[in-house]
């Protein structure tokens, strides 16, 4: 028999070696490296990843992945919050429908209105996606020029979300970095001035690195012109709603820069919105839509006339219609009337026509009895959420009118200001504006001009708040007139247009109450106290 001591002398080192080998520390032993899904640990490595992250940031506008739906933001709810309040369009629904509450400045409208939450949530969702790009792309090894542009594009997008938030709600919590942990998630509201300052900074940064144009295959990316246009609009909005008056001149400067970038008005107004001229020299930045489910426009469903059979697979809902006093106020020669509103179309080979008195389906809740928006309607959309026509959000006509407004705010209307407005009016085939208006009257005229020129393009309530007293009076007068016309265009409600005075609390929307429930640091806007959000502090 072998000597056991001998054996153990040989065996023990083997055992010890085994134990030590296993004990050798490789630091990655406990690190998780998932392989069957994409995680931050295996992404953000190269230029393709950077572009993918940026694409997803753009895609916030069309996203329908949970928790977003494509009606949450520009596909409907943001658009409704912006467009319903003016005299241009109405929801056509009964008075207490949640959509009608917006356009009617209804007493029941409160911080618990669900659209406030979805807009708030979607904007911050988009901000977080932009923050991801801004935080992560700078360390990706790639072409440095393109890398700076990617970050610039993301800053443009972040600024746009904050622009919507600031215009609707005032100062909001500033989230400038990607959310990577759930701790310390609550952030208090920044002041309105700080919020606008952040927008200014992002757009200035973006304008410095972005090109003036992209190849056709990249159309829709932010450009220097887009950043400067939004910057000018932000200065104008901020200065007109309690911000620094010095920003009016900054707006003038920004718009003057845009003028040098080669944009021009397109002679064919209607073509800007029907898919035939999406890359026009007039388009500075448009939301890109394709006829692909999940990557297309969603407004079609809410614009389209209700017919039987529906022109869309899942059924049009037609929740926007022209308000008759406004519709009747177009100059008869104004090409923008036919470019903005639809009164007939061809369905199944038959021409369907309707007027204020002969609705297509007047018995239905959604029956169309007045002109419906013509812009963005895609009669070939394969399904809801797959409208293929781009939404031009920044275009040169807006630059001209906004520059005129900024000049007026700085110095009163001068020749340049009149010339700017009249370029727009000339294209619309309406007579030029007569010189000699006071500063305020010129501003008021611009508000009206913008309604004709920019109807249904997502500027309404922003414009209203820049010239609040005038716009408020005009909307109230419109409501009074609508009351006398109560038979149409709406089907059901007498109560609806009660010509009620618009309270000044409407200068800002309330912070959504659900946001306050989740973030107790949030304060409510004046006049909207709801018992949940902290009392207003005058932001």
């Amino acid at each position: 028999m072998r000597n056991p001591t001998h054996t153990i002398r040989r065996a023990v080192p083997v055992l010890l070696a085994g134990a030590l080998l296993a004990g050798c520390q490789d630091k990655s032993f406990l690190t998780e490296n998932p392989q069957d899904f994409v995680a931050p640990t295996n992404f953000y490595k190269n230029e393709n990843d950077a572009l993918s992250a940026l694409t997803a940031a753009y895609a916030t506008f069309v996203d329908q992945n949970s928790p977003l739906s494509n009606s949450d933001y520009f596909g409907r709810n943001l658009f409704m919050l912006i467009e319903y309040p003016t005299e241009v369009t109405t929801s056509r629904l009964s008075a207490t429908n949640e959509r009608s509450l917006i356009g009617d400045f209804h007493i029941q409208f409160s911080s618990s209105h669900s659209y406030l939450q979805t807009v708030w949530e979607a904007a911050y969702h988009g901000i977080n996606r932009a923050n991801t790009v801004i935080d992560r792309v700078p360390s990706i090894p790639m072409d440095t020029v393109r890398r700076a542009q990617i970050v610039g594009e993301a800053k443009f997008l972040r600024a746009m979300h904050y622009y919507f938030l600031a215009g609707l709600f005032g100062g909001v919590p500033l989230k400038l970095h990607e959310t990577q942990t759930i701790n310390g998630a609550n952030t208090a509201r920044a002041s309105a001035a700080d919020t606008w300052a952040q927008i200014e900074k992002d757009l200035t940064d973006a304008a410095a690195v972005l090109p003036t144009s992209w190849p056709a295959g990249d159309f829709g990316r932010a450009t220097k012109g887009a950043a400067l246009t939004l910057l000018g609009k932000a200065y104008l909005q901020s200065a007109s709603t309690g911000g620094s008056a010095g920003d009016f001149q900054k707006a003038v400067d920004a718009f003057h820069q845009v003028e040098t970038l080669g944009y021009s008005l397109d002679p064919n107004y209607a073509s800007l919105f029907d898919g035939t001229n999406e890359h026009s020299k007039e388009i500075i930045w448009s939301m890109q839509n394709v006829e692909v489910d999940g990557a297309g426009g969603y407004l079609d469903q809410w614009f389209a006339p209700l017919t039987s059979p529906s022109i869309y697979q899942a059924g049009a809902q037609n929740q926007f219609q022209a308000e008759r006093p406004f519709y009747d106020s177009y100059n008869p020669n104004d090409i923008r009337k036919a470019g903005t509103w639809l009164t007939s179309f061809v369905n199944d080979g038959k021409t369907v026509t309707w007027s204020w008195t002969s609705g297509i389906q007047s018995s239905s809740q959604y029956g169309s009895t007045g002109p419906v928006p013509r812009k963005y309607l895609d009669f070939n959309a394969p399904s809801n959420g797959a409208g293929g026509i781009d939404y031009p959000y920044l275009r040169y006509a807006d630059v001209l009118l906004s520059l005129a407004e900024a000049i007026d705010d700085v110095s009163g209307p001068n020749a340049e200001a009149y010339s700017l407005v009249n370029q727009v009016r000339a294209r619309a085939k309406v007579p030029p504006m007569t010189a000699g208006l006071s500063q305020q009257v010129f501003k008021d005229s611009l508000y009206v001009e913008r309604r004709f020129e920019l109807a249904m393009e997502g500027h309404g309530v922003f414009d209203m708040r820049r010239d609040w007293e005038f716009a408020k009076g005009r909307v109230e007068a419109n409501m009074a007139q609508m009351k006398t016309l109560n038979k149409s265009p709406f089907t059901s409600s007498v109560e609806k247009y009660d010509a009620r005075p618009i309270p000044d609390k409407w200068k800002l929307y309330p912070i959504p109450v659900t946001a306050c429930e989740l973030n107790p640091l949030l304060t409510q806007n004046p006049g909207w106290d709801d018992g949940v959000c902290k009392a207003s502090t005058g932001q």
Partner: protein, 1063 residues
């Protein structure tokens, strides 16, 4: 953190290693020899250990029961005999140098648990020195009745261990809860450690797919282990005992030890049995005539009165003779056959190779046609000693289980299994139509009158016989070790093991089934492979300081890495049904087959240590510390520390303790911290999703962070205090009692995030749950005869009571579990602060309203907003708003029993043994969803009670409301406490009569022992539950939605005869 752990451990181990030098020098030595015999049978005892107390000296007995210990220092020694299943015995011997002294032992078999050696994780400990709460089940107790799976063994055998049947079908899952449920979303099954190898056992993980059916209970992951291979089971219950398993200890630990080789000559064992099973209890449903009578009454009582079976139809059906008892059609006598052959032994006495080798075959037919399981298993345990200081060995277990997972259990409507369908199918339908196709209730019953609104449930016989659903589990578990006694006191052990588990599930729905007919055949294949590697390195130091102090110190480092790889595919539109799932590519599904795959891997790295200290045999201390580093924990929380401490005091060893009746009295107190690593791999990480956008009309892919990561996600933490006592009186009565308080915090829940984060919710550690309870065990030899022919009566009584309470949900007040069925959208059980976990939530009722006066006395309106009428069920208006509406729902029941108990009796007389286990529970509610169908509309068959005891103007004292629409008067997606039934039961789980053939009959035929037995299982159940079986949780193996019966597979009553032969 990690470095600190290592430093502490290194120092501890260094200190330990330094001690042996201080050992007393040895003087001249002598030998001890002797024989160990069983006092009852007089037979020599093989494989018993005899040790010299306070030294490492000892020996095992050979086949003649003989042992010899050499090198014993001169002087007087305590000599101790130990063997599992026998009472230890100590005697004094005086050894003289150079002489041989004889010490014989006469020992008695003993199942009193306190006197055995128990596995405590990374080692064993004498039962009498254990300071934590550890229950153990020895193989003698285990093998009294044929058992199919390991977890079944736990039923009724250890207090505080609640075993619930998720499905009684062959291979069906059981849920095991040790000291209640302490998690909401996490796995609450105990950790199973088989021969030192911790097995990944998360039943929520339906690794190989669900065959396209919703909410089927997953198969039992332990089914590949043959119970006959098991030597003993230890159940670690309190935190002191489980802390050695750290982050995996919170649900308790079940340590399974398989049989090892012993003795010298080979010992063969043949174990064979065959059993016949039948359904223990059926639903009493209407026959054809009664059904049509009921349907006509129902039609008359409807808002649109109709007569589904006018006289002409009625008479035609009666004369056709069709009166199908659908339960008869799907139930069968299930046949079970089991055969196991094993051999164990050792090659030589000096440097022995010990081996245990076994092969088993098990084939169980279910009581529902089409269901069954077959298992083949083989196992080899080998140990080789090299001298007395070095040992190598290993275990290899290979097994495959094939389950016919044909849809037998399941939900209703399109998801129904054969059982639920059989309860719904009406007796006036034939199994097959005259053209040979299966009848289909939706078309065939609606053909009589479509106001009957028949469900879209497939034919039960078609479900049971036509669907091919085959499931295979293969497992290769191997673990090898090398062990060296570095010094007399210090042992190094290194193990390396691998667990390879493969599961596949292949399913085909042919055209003869409803599902298959709709898509021209559907094939589904799923496969998953789990591979786990384990390396453990431990150093154990044990020293007895001259009988006054005994120290055992354990230190170790382990690593385990587990990966899972799975694929699944689904195809439809087959040209014919001939190739089934075997040629899944033959399907021509529009858009092609759907395929998916997944992969996860996880790692665990641990430092562990334990100190057991005994002073004067009466003051006991156990300290445990484990540090677990897990890949599943988030980046900032990779490491967790799990300390525990326990003290014990054996009062009976105090010099002043002079109570002659008390053999042993010990008090225990422990406190510890353990974890539940409920986080699944990668759950702490952010996850990206794709969302495209178009530039210039070109769709472009984009990726965004869809789920926020939580870098602080960590284990659920359980802090547990346990106080207990162990008392042995007159050497024959043992009492064990424990009280515990277990508080689990850091529960893993989805919490809402501020919108400004860009996310809606994230997984976080919030909330707390408490479990408090009492466990009592009594074990006694009531009658103890002196010899083998005398009458013996042994009894064992177990009692456990656990109270569960949700303390916090991180700011939320309540969470509903998922809807109970996809068919009814019933709200799931409710998790509510201050309530037990998963209570039922619904309306309260107060009986059938007997007459119009009683109806008029009810001031509130019913759910329809109308006044109550005679014959309706009275539903209470709890919130006082004068109408029954959703606001009147409340907590109406708790599925958790108040207490559970088990009582085992064993009688021996002249080689005959009669043993039986009575077990049961008190309290606990069951939601019998089957009754929604069997007590309402004639769209399905109706229970006899419902028909005969329905309210009529002349039968006003009725149990059930008048026959007609919505008898409960609540909304369609809710239920009343009428559907809740008491889950209390008392069951004769098993009773076995065995006869050990006398030696004179077998000796000349080459047998050493032979035993014949007959066993009855589930012979008798006392319960008020109206369903198949009150021990049911058909909906789920998770922590919520327990105590729900939806088409559960019926309980089987089984008679088994068997023989065990040793030769």
């Amino acid at each position: 953190m990690r470095w600190a752990n290592r430093v502490v451990l290194s120092l501890a181990l260094a200190a330990v290693a330094a001690v042996p030098g201080a050992l007393a020098a040895q003087g001249a030595a002598g030998r001890i020899t002797g024989t160990v015999v069983d006092s009852t049978s007089g037979q020599p005892l093989v494989g018993a250990n005899v040790v010299v107390v306070g030294t490492r000296l000892g020996a095992a007995t050979n086949t003649e029961g003989k042992y010899t210990i050499g090198g014993v220092p001169a002087g007087t020694h305590e000599l101790r005999f130990q063997r599992i299943g026998y009472a230890p015995l100590t005697q004094s011997v005086t050894v003289t140098a150079g002489e041989t002294v004889t010490a014989n032992f006469q020992v008695r078999a003993q199942s009193v648990q306190l006197e055995s050696v128990v596995s405590v994780g990374y080692g064993t400990q004498s039962r009498r020195d254990v300071t934590g709460s550890v229950a153990s089940v020895t193989m003698d107790a285990l093998h009294q009745a044929p058992i199919q799976t390991v977890d079944q063994m736990l039923q009724g055998t250890a207090p505080g261990v609640q075993v619930t049947t998720a499905s009684s079908e062959p291979g069906g899952a059981l849920t095991v809860r040790i000291r209640g449920t302490s998690s909401i979303t996490g796995n609450s099954e105990p950790l199973y450690v088989i021969d030192g190898f911790p097995i990944e056992n998360d039943m929520d993980d339906v690794a190989a797919g669900d065959a396209g059916r919703t909410r089927t209970t997953p198969p039992n992951p332990l089914e590949t282990l043959d119970p006959s291979d098991i030597e003993s089971i230890s159940i670690l219950k309190d935190a002191s005992a489980t802390a050695i398993y750290g982050a995996r200890g919170a649900n308790g630990v079940v340590i399974i030890t398989t049989k090892q080789g012993r003795g010298t000559t080979p010992k063969f064992t043949l174990d064979a049995y065959t059993g016949l099973s039948n359904v223990a209890k059926r639903y009493d449903l209407l026959n054809a005539k009664q059904y049509m009578d009921y349907a006509n009454l129902y039609g008359q009582g409807s808002s649109t009165p109709f007569t589904p079976f006018p006289d002409s139809v009625y008479n035609a059906i009666m004369s056709s003779g069709i009166n199908t008892d659908w339960q008869d059609q799907i139930f069968q006598t299930g046949v079970t056959n089991n055969l196991q052959l094993s051999v164990n032994g050792a090659t030589s006495a000096s440097n022995p190779t010990r081996y245990a080798l076994s092969g088993g075959y098990f084939d169980q037919g279910g009581v529902v046609i089409g269901s069954g399981i077959r298992r083949l298993s083989a196992r080899l345990n080998v140990d080789q000693s090299f001298g007395d200081r070095l040992q190598f060995g290993g275990t290899v277990t290979a097994a495959q289980a094939r389950t016919k997972a044909t849809p037998t259990a399941g939900q209703q409507n399109g998801n129904a299994g054969a059982v639920s369908a059989a309860l719904q199918y009406v007796p006036i339908l034939p199994v097959k139509r005259p053209d040979g196709t299966f009848s289909y209730i939706f078309t065939d019953l609606n053909a009589y009158n479509n106001l009957l609104n028949a469900p879209t449930t497939d034919n039960p016989v078609a479900l049971a016989t036509q669907v091919l659903d085959s499931l295979s589990d293969s497992r290769l578990l191997s673990n090898f070790y090398g062990s060296a006694d570095l010094t007399r006191d210090l042992t190094l052990k290194v193990t390396l093991g691998a667990d390879y588990a493969n599961r596949w599930r292949n399913t085909y729905y042919p055209r003869t089934t409803l599902r298959g007919s709709q898509v021209n055949g559907e094939a589904i294949r799923g496969a998953a492979t789990t591979t786990s590697w384990l390396n453990e390195n431990t150093l154990t130091y044990q020293h007895d300081f001259r009988g006054t102090q005994d120290v055992t110190v354990l230190g170790g480092y382990t690593r385990q890495a587990t990966s899972l790889d799975g694929t699944s595919m689904d195809n439809t539109n087959f040209v014919n049904d001939i190739t089934g799932y075997f040629d899944i590519g033959a399907g021509t599904q529009t858009g092609g087959p759907s395929v998916s795959s997944r992969n996860t891997s996880q790692t665990l790295e641990s430092w562990l240590s334990r100190v057991n200290y005994s002073l004067l045999d009466r003051y006991l201390l156990t300290l445990t510390y484990r540090a677990d580093g897990s890949s599943r924990f988030a980046a900032n929380k990779k490491w967790g520390a799990f300390p525990s401490a326990a003290v014990g005091w054996r009062a009976s060893s105090e010099p002043w303790f002079k109570v002659p009746d008390v053999t042993d009295l010990k008090f225990r107190l422990s406190y510890g911290l353990v974890g539940n690593p409920s986080i699944k791999p990668y759950q702490s990480l952010a996850r990206l999703n794709n969302q495209g956008y178009s530039f210039g009309g070109t769709p472009t892919a984009g990726y965004y962070v869809d789920a926020v990561g939580n870098p602080n996600l960590t284990w659920e933490t359980t802090r547990e205090t346990d106080g207990g006592m162990d008392l042995t009186m007159w050497n024959r009565v043992t009492f064990t009692g424990d009280v515990y308080n277990k508080r689990t915090s850091n529960l893993l829940l989805q919490v809402n995030l501020p919108f400004e984060t860009g996310f809606e919710s994230a997984l976080a550690n919030v909330g707390a749950i408490q479990n408090r309870g009492v466990e009592l065990g009594l074990d006694a030899d009531l009658v103890k005869g002196g010899n083998s022919n005398a009458f013996n009566w042994h009894t064992n009584l177990e009692f456990a009571k656990n109270r569960n309470k949700v303390l916090s949900l991180g700011g939320q007040t309540q969470i509903f579990a998922d809807a109970i069925t996809t068919d009814y959208n019933l709200p799931g059980t409710l998790v509510m602060v201050g309530q037990p976990l998963g209570v039922f939530y619904g309306y309260k009722s107060a009986g059938v309203i007997p007459d119009s006066a009683a109806a008029a006395a009810i001031p509130w309106k019913n759910f329809s907003g109308k006044a109550f009428a005679a014959g309706q069920m009275k539903i209470l208006d709890l919130n006082g708003d004068s109408v029954v509406d959703a606001g009147d729902r409340t907590v109406i029941g708790d599925p958790t029993p108040d207490f559970t108990y088990g009582w085992t009796n064993t009688f021996d007389w002249k080689g005959f043994q009669l043993t039986g286990l009575l077990e049961g529970q008190h309290g606990g509610k069951i939601l019998n969803v089957n009754r929604i169908r069997t007590e309402s509309s004639p769209r399905a068959n109706i229970s006899v009670d419902r028909y005969l005891d329905a309210w009529t103007p002349t039968h006003t004292n009725a149990k059930f409301p008048a026959i007609g629409e919505n008898p409960d008067q609540v909304g369609p997606n809710d239920f009343t406490d009428n559907l809740l039934e008491s889950g209390a039961y008392l069951r004769l789980r098993t009773v076995t009569l065995s006869w050990a053939l006398p030696q004179r009959l077998i000796k000349n035929r080459g047998f050493s022992n032979a035993r014949l037995y007959v066993t009855g299982t589930n012979l008798f159940t006392a319960t008020n539950y109206t369903g198949f079986d009150p021990d049911v949780s058909s909906e789920s193996v998770s922590n919520l939605n327990r105590g729900i019966d939806i088409g559960a597979y019926p309980l089987a009553r089984t008679f088994t005869t068997g023989v065990t032969v040793n030769f």
